[in-house]
Each structure stands twice: as structure tokens, then as C-alpha cells.
Amino acid sequence: MKPWRISQSVATAIVLLLVLLPLYARLAGEPFALTFGSRVLVFALAAVSLNLVLGYGGMVSFGHALYLGLGAYGVGILAHHGVHNGWLQLGVTILTCAIVGALTGLVSLRTTGIAFIMITLAFAQMFYYLFVSLKQYGGDDGLSIANRSDFGLFTLGSPITLYYTALLLVLAALLATHRLVHARFGMVLRGCQVNERRMKALGFSTLRYKLSAYTLSSVLCGLAGLLYGNLTGFAAPAYMAWTLSGELIVIVVLGGMGTVFGPLVGAIVLLISEELLKALTDHWMMILGPLIVLAALTARRGVYGYLLDWDAWRAQQRRAGKGAAP
């Protein structure tokens, strides 16, 4: 029998709870739980996409909210022009995010370290100001989305459908991340994180791998944005704000950077703590801020990372125990 792993049981329990959440919301008569759950899932999806570049590629993108915003505007702008077809909105979002991701990625990846952080931030700010000044699409105030995406078979107008679509996408993205990082592509990407010069010496065109990962991540984050637009019924420049990019980084690090399941755990932990602190005081950010500082100072592996470490430690203890027995 395979030894029991804490990290796996926690992951299974979380997925189970997420599957059952709408049932609870219905029975307890708390529609807020469903909306909140959808929010968690949208942020988890965005964080999964960021984790791909941040956790596995070592690229600290401080502008990922850009793609969240592009996804939301993908729904918003098309709906504004009377196009409610979800598939079309999806296609436009994917294409836009892929093009923007590839182009900005190409410039950004010429730099590393702090310059990369700053240039991704600058690109996000650039689009932020672009959408602020697009007065025909609401400018600073944003654009409300009256009719949600209609995918023919289903529409994202129903909260339950939206929730399960988001859940399905998150699970698919987690599975895809798992497959990807254990495939050749992911190995090369992780190699770049550890020592890019050595990967180059081995003959890999590292830029190509990193750019592909960055573009893929942009598109995935765009999908999260599409869901976010449908969830809030709104697309605004605020979705591209640098604070949101920062929040996504917090989620990834809090959950466990470079672990497959971490971003989902991080999204749950951060958003629930935010809600709890909000209930406590109006100035909840005065508590959250220092907590983030504390997390950066001490808890570097993230919640899920520590669970994995614990499992590894237990496995080691078991091996040591076996070795000692005659």
C-alpha cells in the first residue's frame, strides 16, 4: 500500500469541498458563498498561470493583471458592440492575450532580475492608461457587461454554471501544469530557472522556451479575466492595476511557488483572510500588509510547499526507520 500523504489528502479535500460548495450555498441559502467561491476560483486560475512563469520559469512578472484585464475587456468590448457569442469572445481573448503576451514577452525577456520586474510592470501600466483614456469604453469608470457570454449550450449568466466552468478550468489548468512541468518543456523551463547559462551551453534556445511559457501564461490569465468579467459583470482599468498584479504574486507565494497545487491553496487562504479581516475592521489592510511582510520574511515555501516538505520529511523518517530495523 502506498504511504498516506498529507499534501494529497489536503488537495483532495479542497477539491471535494469546492465541488460541494454550490450545494451548501443552495441549502444554506447563502448566494454570497457561491459568488465568493467563483472569485476564489478566478484568482486561482490567474495564479496558476502566473505560477507557470514565476514558480517554474523564475520570471517575476509584476504585470499579470494586464491579461486579467484584457480578458475582461474581451467580453466587455464585444458585448458593448452586441456580440454575446462566448466562443467568439473566447477566440478574441485568446488571440489578443497571445499577441500581447508574445510581443511584450519578447521585449521583457531581454532583461532579467529587477529590470524584468519593472518592464512587465511598465507594460501593464501602459495598457492601464490606454484603457483609462478609451472614453468610448467607459474610460476610468469601466464598462458594465449587461449580457454575459453565451456559449450556445450554456451561458455564463447563471452563477452555478459560471462556478462550475471556473472550477473545471482550474482543475484542467492544474492537471495541465502537472503534465507540462514534468514533460521535456517543463524540464527545460525549470532548468532555465536554476541556471540559464548552463541550459544555453547545453544547446537549448532558452528564449524560445521562456517566451512560449510566458505567452501560454498570458493566454491562461486571459481566460481567468474572461470569467472575471462575467462574474462581476464589469470590465474596468482597475482590473489591470498594479495592486492586482501584486496580489497575484502574493497568492502564488503564499500557496507555494513552484508547486502545482499551491496557487489554488494560496487563493483560498488570501481571499478568506481578506474576508475575515474585513469583518474585523475597516482598516483591514493595516493588518494584511504586515502579515504579507511577515510571510515574505519567514514563510518562504508557502502553505502547500510546507505540506510537501512535511511529506518528504515523513518519507525520510520511514526510510530511516526501515534501515534501522534488523
Binding site: M126, G289, I292
Partner: protein, 306 residues
């Protein structure tokens, strides 16, 4: 377009440039020497502005306001270095970004808690409230004072770094901190002093921009992002580079905002130009930075001795 309008816009650009320099000098020193990304530098600027505005409202003396604003933000910077930053010098940039992001959230909320959510106004001091005649063009005395203060600060930085013992240690620390420590210099105190100096400069910027901007929670971040762009363009760690590129960025931003909409109106119809002008203008410095990085990833004026 008239000559005087052009000159006034150039002076405005210069004024933004020196403000940006005061912020980016500290940022680039801290980054170049301690290898520390301080996103919370904008919070020091904001707190400096609040301290100065509060002191000015109570004392009615700009001198006291300056004293309170600058020493207040320097003390805050010193505390920030000792409590948070010093623990993160050896860590990677991600941890630093995360921690200082947390600090920003804290300070913005702190400011909202103490001074309220609505903007806090600081009056232009009586003596500087008029206009000044520069070669036949009348220009706001206060804005001119900002330019003068900024240039004096830049001169002071130059003298401090190139002509004094502290400056020698700073230069030595930026090329090899371990050896400096081995020579018997208390590198911890040196680091804290540099951090506090950067914070003091941010405080000067906050003090000077208090009367022309509204002092409010979150005012530090837009200008911090511009200062970050400045140091990336100028070459990280180089104060000289920060000075030149702050002026370039200030001029580009101001000129873009003032003239781009007019320029676009020449060959676009009015409504399109009106919509696209401000958009392009606010994107201009980001585009400029992307261009610089694409051509010279190490910045325009990198440190020579690296």
C-alpha cells in the same frame, strides 16, 4: 504654438524631472548598493508629504514643515531598514517585492486611518505664491523653487558621493560590500544611513510636491512607478544616470501630455485625436523604456566600473 507656451512646458518638464530625481536617487542607491528593490519608497514620499503638510498646517512655517517632513521620512526610512529591509538583502528580489508590497498596503491604509480618505491640502507658502519673470515669461515661483531645490539636491548628491569620506564608502560599497566590511567599516550602519538618506530625499520630494498636488493615500505609487522607469532607463545603481534619465523622462512625459494631442489633431479628426492623445502621452515613457531596454538592456548611463 507660441514660444512662451513651449518654454513653460519645458520648465514644467524640468520640474517633474527634478522631483523624479529626488525619488530615484534613493531608490537607485539602495538598489545599487544593497541590491534591494524598495517598492515602499513611494510610501516614504507619501509619509514625508503628510508630515510636512500636517506640520505646515499647525505651525504655518514652511521651514518647520520642511524640517518635520524630511527628518520624519528619514527616521521612517531608518526604521524600515532596521525592521524589514535589512533582513531581506541576501534574499531574492521576489521576497523583497512581496515584503515592500505589504508595506505599501500598510502605509496607504495608515494614512487613510490617520488623515482620512479625502485629500489633504497644503498651501503654497506666502513668499513663493506669486509668479516670477524669467526672460519675459512669467512662471510660478513655487514651481521654479522646486527646480532650484532639485538642482541643489542633485549638486549635494554629487558632492557627497564624489568628495566626502561617506561618499567614498558608498562608492566602495556599491562595487564590493564584502571587502568594505573586511576593511573594518560598519557596513550595517552604512546601509542604514544610505537607506535613511534615500528616505530623506523622498521626503524632500514629498515636501516640495505637497503644495502642487493633493496629499492623499496612494499618491506615492504612480510616481514610484515613474521613478522605477527612471532608474531602469538610467542604469540601475548609477546616481548620475538617474539624474539624466529623470530629466529626460520628466521632459518626455510633460511634452507628450502637452503637445501630443495638438500634434495628432494635425492628421487625425478631432474626436479621435482627443481620445488618443492622452493615451499615447501616458504610454510614452513606458514605450521609451521598452525601447531603451530593447536596445541597451543595461540602461543608458550604466555604472562605469562594473
Amino acid at each position: 504654438m507660441t514660444f512662451s507656451l513651449f518654454t513653460i512646458q519645458m520648465l514644467n518638464g524640468l520640474q517633474l524631472g527634478v522631483l523624479l530625481f529626488m525619488l530615484s536617487a534613493g531608490l537607485t542607491l539602495v538598489f545599487g548598493i544593497m541590491n534591494f528593490v524598495n517598492l515602499a519608497h513611494g510610501s516614504l514620499y507619501m509619509m514625508g508629504a503628510y508630515f510636512a503638510a500636517t506640520a505646515y498646517a499647525h505651525s504655518d512655517s514652511f521651514l518647520i514643515a520642511a524640517l518635520v517632513g524630511v527628518t520624519g521620512s528619514a527616521a521612517l526610512g531608518f526604521a524600515m531598514e532596521r525592521i524589514v529591509a535589512a533582513r531581506l538583502y541576501a534574499r531574492d528580489h521576489l521576497d523583497q517585492v512581496l515584503a515592500t508590497f505589504g508595506l505599501i498596503l500598510f502605509f496607504n491604509e495608515l494614512a487613510r486611518w490617520i488623515w482620512g480618505a479625502s485629500p489633504y491640502y497644503m498651501n503654497v507658502p506666502e513668499a513663493l505664491s506669486g509668479t516670477i519673470n524669467l526672460l519675459g515669461i512669467s512662471y510660478s515661483t513655487y514651481r521654479f523653487a522646486i527646480i532650484v531645490v532639485g538642482l541643489l539636491v542633485a549638486l549635494g548628491c554629487y558632492l557627497l558621493i564624489n568628495k566626502t569620506r561617506i561618499g567614498m564608502l558608498i562608492r566602495a560599497g556599491s562595487s564590493n560590500p564584502t571587502i568594505v566590511a573586511a576593511m573594518g567599516v560598519n557596513i550595517k550602519m552604512l546601509n542604514a544611513a544610505i537607506f535613511a538618506l534615500g528616505a530623506a530625499l523622498a521626503g524632500v520630494a514629498g515636501l516640495m510636491s505637497g503644495p502642487i498636488l493633493s496629499v492623499q493615500s496612494g499618491m506615492g505609487e504612480p510616481i514610484l512607478i515613474m521613478a522605477m522607469i527612471v532608474i531602469v532607463i538610467g542604469g540601475i545603481g548609477s546616481v548620475r544616470g538617474a539624474f539624466y534619465s529623470a530629466l529626460i523622462v520628466g521632459l518626455i512625459d510633460t511634452a507628450g501630455r502637452a503637445f501630443l494631442p495638438l500634434l495628432l489633431r494635425e492628421f487625425l479628426d478631432r474626436s479621435t485625436a482627443q481620445a488618443a492623445g492622452p493615451a499615447l502621452a501616458s504610454m510614452l515613457i513606458s514605450i521609451f523604456m521598452a525601447l531603451v531596454l530593447a536596445l541597451k538592456p543595461e540602461g543608458l548611463f550604466p555604472l562605469r566600473n562594473r
